[in-house]
Amino acid sequence: MSRPMPVSKVMLLSLLGALVLTLMPLPDELAPARPYWVALVVIYWNLEAGRLRHLGQAFGLGLLLDLLTGTLLGQHALSLIVISYLTERFRNRLRFFPPWQQAAAVMALLFNDRIVQLWVIGLTDDAWPHWSWWLAPLIGMILWPWLFLLLDRLRQLERLQKT
């Protein structure tokens, strides 16, 4: 069903960048509101380039993220497969939304993800997250159009270089 695509440097770089941004030190007040970079990048590549569509890829990335951030093993894996599944499910609609509408849809995805993660956090008896934790989807929405433009431009450059 799927033929192997050549490995895109831009994709690897964007994933790496997302991981770095996830680990980047932030002041304590802002840390809970850190946008879910990896999810944003995964959604972008799924929607616009039709890559990273396999749930297995999302799962692997999630596990890597869990190991890097010292989270309960499987928490990000679960959250990313749900995001990947939903993105794929509504892909055909989302792709042709105007940018701000698309951003709103992305926020809905991220918000849904917060609920999934809250479920895990609640079960593991941690304290209720700080209120600013709920800001992360909003920040994700604000970032989305810019991330979109940036990655689109990079992808275009890469394509031009190849031809």
């Binding site: 069903m1 002041p27 569509r53 989270t71 093993l73 499987g74 894996a77 497969i81 599944y85």
Partner: protein
């Protein structure tokens, strides 16, 4: 802008069903992993295996920020540095004077113990470490320090800062280690109330600024302001390290036990330099007198300036 055609033509029903099935399988897998991780750490094996891959990535992310911090220090004006040196020297003199007094006490203490034929106090060696600046998941109550197996760290060693206990070494990689903070909901620490010698256990609450004491008798002699120190029971923590200060004691009628809320004295969220209690050379004067470390003598007083 033209979209490159997707690699798959997303077919109708059948494809979707297969995908849903896969979602179920992966979801189940993730859940199983989480349960295994949560219940008794069956996956610590996986974690320590993958540390080989994960650690270099963490160090690579850390490097530019460490460099930035270094540069920031380089750029500080000469004047400012001189001021700080003066301040530190002043502090050092004060501490040295105190130390002389303490030496006096120590010899006196040894004398008394000999008279009482009590066992010798456990000697403790410290190893300085610095927190790495990268952020882990804020809900995991873990921090990374820049010392690892290579520096002789082992799982279970206590980690303290100048004010008190902050946690315990949890997972050791080659050049770094995870420290589980005492505020982690899974963490329990045997403590003693300094004023009354009452022994109890302080549990983490998941809040960085609070510990919980449960199962206290209703008539317990405990007041806000009482200081909790490690009791040394359990064998991991040497006795006498300050842990927390009681903030509030609640005796709710209808409940069999009183509870108390305590504020950790160690700066769990702000400490930059920490000490790992590296070894307990019990009956060996020599081992205790030779500092284990040659480069780990960072001044603890520096802690005051750390993160913003």
């Amino acid at each position: 802008m033209s979209f490159t055609a997707g690699t798959w033509t997303s077919g109708p029903g059948g494809d979707q069903a297969a995908r849903t099935a896969r979602l179920m399988v992966y979801g189940l897998l993730a859940t199983i992993l989480m349960v295994l991780d949560y219940r008794g750490g069956y996956v610590s094996e996986i974690r320590s295996r993958t540390a080989v891959v994960v650690e270099p990535m963490l160090l690579a992310v850390e490097a530019p920020f460490a460099l930035g911090r270094r540069l920031g220090e380089e750029l500080r004006s000469r004047h400012e540095l001189q001021d700080r040196i003066a301040l530190l020297e002043q502090q050092l003199r004060g501490l040295e004077a105190e130390l002389i007094m303490l030496e006096e006490f120590e010899s006196e203490n040894a004398e008394l113990r000999r008279l009482l034929e009590a066992s010798r106090r456990v000697e403790v060696a410290y190893r300085a470490a610095e927190l790495m600046s990268i952020d882990l998941n804020p809900y995991s109550h873990r921090v990374l320090i820049n010392r690892g197996r290579r520096d002789g760290l082992e799982e279970g060693q206590p980690v303290i800062d100048a004010e008190g206990v902050i946690g315990q070494v949890d997972q050791v990689a080659r050049n770094s280690a995870h420290v589980i903070l005492i505020s982690d909901p899974d963490h329990a620490l045997p403590v003693r109330v300094r004023r009354t010698d009452l022994r109890t256990v302080a549990y983490g609450t998941g809040q960085i600024n609070s510990l919980r004491l449960t199962d206290l008798p209703m008539n317990v002699d405990l007041e806000p302001g009482d200081v909790l120190i490690t009791s040394g029971l359990g064998g991991l923590f040497p006795p006498g390290l300050p842990v927390a200060e009681v903030r509030e004691v609640t005796r709710r009628s209808g409940e069999p036990f009183a509870r108390a809320d305590a504020r950790p004295l160690g700066r769990l969220d702000r400490a930059r330099h920490v000490l790992v209690v590296a070894a307990q050379a019990a009956d060996d004067e020599l081992a205790a007198e030779q500092p284990l470390d040659d480069d780990g003598t960072e001044p603890v007083a520096e802690q005051a300036e750390g993160e913003p």
